[in-house]
């Protein structure tokens, strides 16, 4: 599975959204992406990609696309 597929799957499973919704998905766009959903999604990302996100990045992780930029800082190319 590619990094992009892993990334997408985390979003799909964490927020119960469809793949075609991902590119425009932003924090709190759906009920499932609330603060609790955010914490779960970050924990899953850290585990799957074996990284430890800085708190500034966790707070800055405001959308699906922003997350792609943030992961680049940790050497994860999607």
């Amino acid at each position: 599975m590619s990094n992009k597929e892993k990334y997408d799957l985390i979003f799909i499973n964490s927020f119960e959204v469809k793949e075609n919704e991902l590119p425009s998905l932003r924090y709190q766009d759906v009920d499932t992406w609330d603060s609790i959903g955010h914490v779960s999604m970050i924990a899953e990302l850290e585990d799957v990609f074996d990284i430890m996100l800085e708190m500034d990045d966790i707070l800055d992780f405001s959308s699906y696309s922003k997350g792609i930029d943030i992961l680049k800082k940790y050497g994860i190319k999607l």
Partner: protein
């Protein structure tokens, strides 16, 4: 010891500051009760290495030492990475590391204030953020923060220490509320005067004036409470502070 049965069999605990005093008593207690333990201490010491070797052999448990200075964020992250890399589930986190401080409010320096809050509040705050992510994925976990009766009694000479431990109690209650959704519970233990190295540094005037505590508590008695909170016997207890001081 509460029971000769192994109440923590199959569980994994992370304990900070467990090379002496209350932390060491909790380490011994949890090992006796069958827990796998990540024993977090500031630096490697021969005496402690021997202690955990003997303890693990005697109880047929795995004790993994993790070294980091709680005030050094990068060292702490490396410690967390070692714990994460083990891929073990983390059932229990005991934040025990702490330093004492005794001074009149009007003689308490900013430097001391920062140092004590760094160790007694900021370090367990950050460390719990890291470890709680593992617990969030698991959808279960148990956090135990070692506070102090000084946080509750506004004892003379304890302005900095008491405030740092009060902050720890506050954040424990917030953790209990916010992490409940992930099946994680959080509680504090507030020991009274306990027979540790920290007590030996306490000026006699503060022991006499502190409260009308009848006797000095033994670290093993705090550890028994930590065992209860770590075990399934306390499964419905969260967001609480348990005083362990033997009554007034």
């Amino acid at each position: 010891m509460v029971s000769s049965s192994r109440l923590l069999s199959g569980k994994t605990a992370v304990i900070t500051g467990c090379n002496r005093g209350i932390g060491k008593a909790i380490l011994d207690n949890y090992a006796t009760n069958g827990a796998t333990i990540f024993a977090c201490v500031r630096k490697e010491e021969k005496e402690f290495s021997n202690h955990i070797r003997i303890l693990s052999e005697k109880n047929a448990v795995n004790i993994i030492p993790i070294y980091f200075d709680a005030r050094n964020k990068e060292e702490m992250k490396q410690g967390v990475k070692k714990i994460k890399d083990s891929k073990k589930q983390i059932d229990i986190l005991v934040n025990n590391s702490g330093i004492g401080h005794n001074a009149h409010f009007m003689m308490s320096s900013l430097e001391s204030l920062k140092e004590v809050f760094d160790v007694n509040f900021i370090a367990p705050f950050l460390f719990t953020q890291y470890i709680a992510k593992i617990m969030v994925r698991q959808k279960f976990g148990n956090i135990i923060n070692i506070s102090s009766t000084a946080a509750l009694d506004a004892s003379e000479g304890k302005s900095i220490y008491g405030a740092s431990k009060a902050a720890l109690i506050c954040i424990t209650k917030i953790m209990a509320s916010e992490l409940k959704a992930f099946g994680i519970r959080a509680n504090s233990i507030a020991p009274g005067l306990t027979d540790t190295d920290m007590l030996s540094f306490l000026p006699k005037e503060f022991i006499v004036n502190s409260r009308e505590q009848k006797e000095i508590i033994q670290p093993s008695e705090i550890a028994d409470t930590a065992l209860f909170l770590a075990s399934d016997a306390s499964a419905q207890i969260t967001g609480q502070v348990i005083r362990v001081e033997g009554g007034k």
